[in-house]
Symmetry: C2
Subunit: 290 residues, 2 copies
Amino acid sequence: MESGFRSTDWQQLTFAVVGMGLIGGSYAKALRRLGVKKIIGVDTDGKVLRQAQEQAVIDEALCGAGPGLQAADVVICSVYPAATLDFVKSAVPFLKSDVLITDATGIKGSLPEDVQRLLTGRMEFIAGHPMAGRQGSGFGMSQAEIFDGANYIVVPAAFNSSGAIEWVSSFAGAIGCGQVVQVDAVEHDRIIAYTSNLPHALAVALINSASYNENTKYFIAGSFRDGTRVADINPYLWSDLFLANRENVLQELAAFSQQLERWREALTAADAQALQEMMREAAIKRKDLY
Amino acid sequence: MESGFRSTDWQQLTFAVVGMGLIGGSYAKALRRLGVKKIIGVDTDGKVLRQAQEQAVIDEALCGAGPGLQAADVVICSVYPAATLDFVKSAVPFLKSDVLITDATGIKGSLPEDVQRLLTGRMEFIAGHPMAGRQGSGFGMSQAEIFDGANYIVVPAAFNSSGAIEWVSSFAGAIGCGQVVQVDAVEHDRIIAYTSNLPHALAVALINSASYNENTKYFIAGSFRDGTRVADINPYLWSDLFLANRENVLQELAAFSQQLERWREALTAADAQALQEMMREAAIKRKDLY
């Protein structure tokens, strides 16, 4: 068994979770379920910290960077992309010299390099992205189960040690995730634009259609329910994510619009074969996914 | 307690379910759960009839219209739109003089009038549309539970008796449906284009995007899973439904494209406020739905 932050002896490790929102709260609950040594919750919102402490989700509460972070072997940043940088900058003086920092940010860009640049000594940042979430936002909506079976993307940068990459991969499995995959930041952002950003945009667009009215709810079935499930998301966080990835998302919107154009053409031409072909293609792909 | 087909004494009624597919099979299973007197399954596929009989989902099997239909107080047509007309035409000579016929067709058009025109005596057709379904197709995918809590649309025509309207509304509740609403056929088709046809088209378009590849599955989260759930549908049935409703669906595609255009503009202009506004609007509407 290794010592220090590369240990996977979870019961011996102290974690700091920065941001007690939907994802951060879920991390804390998953860590509790995993039985780690100690969970430090960090948030600027004292109310949410009290709530997390009262529910025994965290052992200690910090309203920001401070000496209390010294105990953390691992820091998980679950805050807005820009806030990760700010937090790490203020936290560095208090952190263990071999601390491992990871994140859950839905868009990477230059974040890994930017964070690592702030670190000193043997501190290391390794980017991660649990493909987990649910509608809503905030600590009240958090739950350990969001990780169960979810994909977990590890996004190593050139500076990362193999130990850190292995640690975060094991960690993903330990909190319940299924498939763990590795891609670089550029590829991550490109793929995520399709598999996450686009479906969120479509859900928002579907429910925002001019055809929606107060009677819509009496006529919806599963297709509408599922197609709009993620329309209820945190507008501030997601506008950040969308803007940080906007070139990729614009490309995905264009690729998607080409498919809508296929629909428009097939319907205009009353082309049953073209419609069936699109649906057969989709059915095969969907079956391949699950 | 009334006698004849307007009775809601379910245990005394014999039902014929025409089409043992996903929806017809689910009706038969829901009727079994309801404890009706007898269930006659009708299908051209002898294998599926045997299967339904072996599983005790139906009491009697008919491979088409014939004297066996005489016992039916109620006939539920769960076949392709065009097949409903064909079946009723061939069945009329065998049906009870006061039989009630209903359907589950996802598009109405002139179907109610067309079917009623074939009927004689006190036979009555009342159109219905359970907003229930699931991925896949065929008897093997059927289950009584698809009706539980689902909306049920009753589509009365000018010729319908209040007794028939009331009966089908009670019946919807009896098999587990939640909200039962009434609209005429024109309105039904217009609304369904938005609440059902469009989400299915979007799901197919999302998974058919040029960005999809064999690695997509490792990067998907709930938003992609939910957004593509109904991409796996029966291509033949659904091309019929889409074509029969194509004017309405084309309008919905146009209305949806306007929303995508809002996304494109907001992203191009890097307009955080516009993005947040769209998401706030969507979140409010989504919360109002459920």
